[in-house]
Symmetry: C2
Subunit: 204 residues, 2 copies
């Protein structure tokens, strides 16, 4: 074997294969990944720096599907909503991926692009820099938290023998469904956007 005339690997192929493994198993190991690509483990290191870099590449691949409205036509609140929903959906398409992200600083270009779009929309709406950072942080935290909620194993909370009726009744209401997670996200987002709007308009 040794070097083939046309490379068997690329960082894109590696990230895609890793994504597939994570979607299926919730995690991936280098040997698994190598096997899925019909290659020896050490080959991977010709294309990526290590496991952490593969995770960043997966983030990029997942985030590349976020839709950013280019001509911010409508109201800024509607624009923010579109971005946030698309952002949430991109996470939700690969729910099991999210836990892998949570310990890394975002350096991926595609993801930074999303923050950028949020920042510009907010600037256009009259948010000063500090208010911008606050708003982005609130939206980002809520998107991530909601995606994690959607990601969690079928039963997020395993109610206890001595949980209150108030809690168990509520739990029974929403069994199953990624749909529920998405609906709940939408409601929370609406609340947040309305609240943000009330705060800017209050100041001028």
């Amino acid at each position: 074997m040794a070097r083939p005339s046309t490379p068997k690997l690329s960082s894109e192929l590696i990230a895609a294969a890793a994504l597939k493994l994570v979607d299926k198993n919730g995690e991936f190991t280098i040997p698994q990944l190598a096997k899925a690509l019909s290659v020896s483990a050490s080959s991977l290191y010709n294309h990526v720096g290590g496991k952490d870099e593969i995770i960043e590449l997966m983030r990029g691949q997942a985030m590349s599907r976020v839709q950013l409205p280019e001509a911010p036509g409508g109201h800024w609140r509607e624009t923010l909503r579109l971005i946030a929903v698309s952002y949430f959906e991109s996470y939700s398409r690969h729910p099991r991926l999210i836990p892998l992200f949570t310990s890394h600083t975002v350096r991926d270009r595609t993801t930074l692009r999303v923050y950028d779009a949020l920042a510009q929309t907010l600037a256009g709406a009259g948010f000063d820099p500090a208010a911008r950072l606050t708003a982005i942080t609130i939206i980002d935290s809520f998107v991530l938290g909601s995606a994690l909620d959607a990601a969690a194993p079928d039963e997020v909370w395993a109610a206890d023998v001595d949980s209150s009726a108030s809690f168990t009744e509520a739990l029974e209401e929403g069994l199953g469904s990624a749909e529920r997670a998405e609906q709940t996200f939408g409601q929370g987002l609406d609340i947040i956007l309305a609240g943000l709007e009330a705060r800017v308009s209050a100041r001028g």
Copy 2:
């Protein structure tokens, strides 16, 4: 050596030592943990089922500090606020712990107690079961997402060369500080609680 007359270990001691390691290093391994406890790795298995159980124990230890107002004296909104803030602070006290939680279903009693308190407060305020679940999910998602934001490495986002001025200006505004994360959380929480209140009172 062999069996000492008084045990050297307990699940509490193990969880506490693991928590210390995570606070310092952001992770822990069984050999590290054994060394910190001056014990051999295999000894741990006399007290805990494995690494996953140690993580659940750490969650319990972190959550045991959440303050639940027993006599819900004031307005329900204020009660919810107290619970949520205390919940957030408990996570924030051990920020590096959070990534370890994100792939496990909550089974820990202490944590379920928090959801229970939220559910009861909401029930008292007139939220029906479905609305209760929605509200709890929104609050929980926001707490978790905000705690993750606080947890992330010093610079959550590493701005790019070609990030917009709108974004980089905003970033410069809030450099450093867990304080900032806490303030932002408080603002977001206020928005969410106000929005929830508007929704119940609208229905009656």
